[in-house]
Amino acid sequence: MQQLADSLIAQGMFGANPPRDLIYALFIFVFSLIVFLGIAFPFAGIVSWVERRVWARMQSRCGPNRVGPNGFLQWLADGLKHICKEDLIPADSDPALFKFAPYLVILAFTLPWAVMPFSSQLILADLNVGILYMTSVTALTVVGVLMAGWASNDKWSLIGGIRSAAQIVSYEIPAGLSIFPAVLMAGTLSMQGIIKAQGWAPWTWFAFSNPFTFIAANVLYISALAEGNRTPFDLPEAESELVAGFATEYSGMRYLFFFAAEWGNLFIIGAIITTLFLGGWQFPLISNNAVVMNVLQLITFNIKVLFLVFVSMWVRGTLPRVRIDQLMSLCWKYLVPISFVDLVGTAAWIAIWPSGNSVAPWIMLALFLAIVVTFLRRVLHYFRRSKMELYLSPTI
Amino acid sequence: MDALATYQAVKERFGAKVLEINEKALDPFMVVDPSAIVEICRFLRDHPETAMNCLTNEIGVDYKDRIEVVYELYSYPKRYGVTLKVKLPRDNPVVETVETVWKSANWMEREIFDLIGVTFQGHSDLRRILMPEDWPGHPQRKDFVEPMEYHGISTVRDSPIIRMEADRK
């Protein structure tokens, strides 16, 4: 941000001798408004529409397609509806906590955007502990969810809240440990620093730099899904078991806050993994113009993140939900040991090849492509076997 | 062994406890003394030649002058079924439970208790099952008259046509 402001000041946009601090403050204020109101909240809304459409196509349905072109404005309609609905507060609940809980959840969703590295210069605050800040503020969700579950004074909500607490606290450990391989490779906790340690090409990304980081990226994605209450780990709000889990007693806008945070968190999950393992906004240097480069980097970053968002929708459309004991055993018996091995392995790898192994990235990339090709072949196999014309013919 | 041979065997074993064997009915049945029903059921279940290991159906029927409880037994190993009946007085129908012989009798007897009003002695959990706990009477009895209201909720409603015409006026 500071660089961008500096470069604009140098171009003389704010006069000859401008008050620098004020301009920095103005920049941060305007950009945070844009980020929160223009990106974070609409993103959560649009993702809800995208998810419903994507999900619907996977399930041979249409999904919302009435409000606006292809139903694009459905999220606005839903938001308006929820604002207009009565804000019910159960008589026996703890009203103060009950009212406060959704704000805490939405706070946990907005705070990470402060260190979101959209491009080399578009970042609100490039903290030197950026990634640590990110993981710590996202963990604030658990307080809000637990508070909601407890304050509702409903046994289903309570079970949902407790499940959520157990789940998020447990999965913080593999998630946290899986972040460190990338931090070790980059040698910094800053979001921009980690991205700058990688290049634009896949073989320079941390995900493919050695086998340990490859596994760490996958472990991190699984743990992040669990922390974001996404299928297959959506136990806190498991519809068929707990009605709506911690959100059972909520209605109107407060209910919407929980789900806006859930959908918005998809972007944050994607952004963390993109930053740490997939090269962030890195784009080949094709222009010296700062604006052009920033736009290209912004697009690159968003494409990577949105692909990961799509994958999580895809997972949601495919997998059933695990049971609470299976959830815990997955975390403590498998993910935690694996992430420890990853951490030690990465450290050993760096000790052996301080400047990186030149062959390993190519092998890892080839392995990854082989997985993708096998997957596509299986998809094609079933695609050929199904008779599409029978679905298209209305008579049968 | 088939159903009729089984009835004869039971008659030989229990004598006067078997009141009647009807061979002409579509499904031949045997009427037994209510006091002996558990004994006979246990005999049929445990005897290796009959091995009636399943109670497929237990039905209560109100015949205005008496109440019958029909037991349909089936033997999976021997692949045939028999039908037992007990006749009970209508004013105080009491019979011993066969839940101790087959577990499936539990819910079926609760249903008969609920809808016909037969009391099963020794039943572990004799509560109403389909109707509310405080429902008056037993709906499957022939002289059951539906109450006009239940807890202030009317159980009758006008014909929709009459109501529609009334609205029009």
Binding site: R385 | A25, K103
Partner: protein, 371 residues
């Protein structure tokens, strides 16, 4: 140090997404683990058996649809067979074939719904919509056959209401050609999914002995490894003319008689139904579909039992006639009623999430319990 804990009593239903207004459980839970789940039924009790005593033999046929609205053909068939047995009516062969065809289509539809909701209760929505998509096509076919999609009222005493419409046979065969590969796709999508198997295997294990003692029937009994199908073992209608297998649970993923076995039995039964349908559609004879039955049908005084293999298993109809135009007493013994009676025993020590799985795996349909 000891922590004081107390048992929590949870009220699941009737307003709960997985009991959808028709069932209620009182769960005594210790955290996530249930001590017991006490079922409370009767929310859908409509006294259908009592209605039969007021509406007569022919008039009761539409009401039988409501006994089990997911597989209404079997309740139709059960009542029709009970009346035919009482009145000594012989159904024409084409009528029997029409019954078998309609019933087996209905069995596929019902099993599709069952395995679909199984996925949904576990949290996977996609299998449900895929199953419903196939079921819709069967509904379309049956709609052409009898004009209704859910409560069919297709069968009559002495046969069926209408003959197959022209061109229907070919459409039905085309559907079966479509269904067989879809069946495999379905297996690939969900049946062998690791999480799915983990959720279902070793849950709600019913031993063969218990299954018989509690009078479980149909897929629930077969899931416990006991090979018993009314269509094979106490044959009725024209079933002896067809060649089909009776799939049984094998305990391939866990213990014999667990939820996964019951699920796999349903999945495989759809394939067998498809086999029966192909044979029936190819061999259907010509002739009338409805025997002559007097409009004022008055069977001799007497009583009879009839057993039909419905999609939820052996459905026992018991009808008493007093010689008048109205049945004296009708009783339906259904698979769901027996299965529901077992839930209290099975639920002990399961997790709350498993209760939903257990109910879905027993394929309990509320109207069948309450009637």
């Amino acid at each position: 140090m000891s922590i004081r804990t107390e048992e929590m009593t949870l009220n699941m239903g009737p307003q709960h997404p997985s009991t959808h207004g028709v069932l209620r459980f009182v769960i005594k839970a210790d955290g996530e683990v249930m001590r017991e789940a006490i079922p409370d039924v009767g929310y859908l009790h409509r006294s259908i058996e009592k209605i039969a005593e007021k509406v007569g033999y022919h008039g009761f046929m539409p009401y039988t649809d409501r006994v089990d609205y997911v597989s209404a053909m079997f309740t139709n068939q059960g009542w029709a067979m009970a009346c035919e047995r009482l009145g000594g009516i012989v159904v024409p062969r084409r009528g029997e074939y029409c019954r078998v065809i309609a019933a087996e289509f209905n069995r596929i539809a019902s099993h599709l719904l069952s395995v679909g909701t199984m996925g949904m209760d576990i949290g996977a929505m996609t299998p449900f919509t895929h199953a419903i998509r196939e079921r819709e096509m069967i509904n379309d076919l049956i709609e052409e056959l009898c004009g209704a999609r859910l409560t069919f009222n297709y069968m009559r005493i002495g046969g069926v209401g209408w003959d197959l419409p022209p061109g229907w046979r070919e459409k039905a065969l085309a559907y079966l050609d479509h269904f067989d590969p879809i069946w495999e796709e379905y297996n690939a999508l969900i049946s062998y999914n690791k999480i799915y198997v983990e959720r279902l295997a070793n849950v709600g294990v019913i031993s063969t002995q218990d299954a018989i003692d509690y009078n479980l029937v149909g897929p629930n009994l077969r899931g416990s490894g006991f090979k018993w199908d009314i269509r094979k073992d106490i044959p009725y209608s024209v079933y002896p003319e067809f060649d089909f297998d009776v799939p049984v649970g094998t305990g391939e993923f866990g213990t014999l008689g667990d939820a996964m076995d019951r699920y796999m039995v349903r999945i495989r039964e759809m394939r067998e139904s498809s086999k029966i349908l192909r044979q029936a559609l190819n061999r259907i004879p010509d002739g009338p579909v409805l025997a002559k039955v007097p409009r004022n049908f008055k069977p001799k005084a007497g009583e009879c039992q009839v057993r039909v293999e419905s999609s939820r298993g052996d459905m026992g109809w018991y009808a008493v006639s007093d010689g008048s135009a109205y049945p004296w007493r009708v009783h339906v013994r259904t698979g769901s009623f027996a299965a529901m009676g077992m839930i209290n025993k099975l639920s002990r020590g399961l997790m709350i999430a498993d209760l939903v799985t257990l109910i879905a795996s027993l394929d309990v349909i509320a109207p069948e319990i309450d009637r």
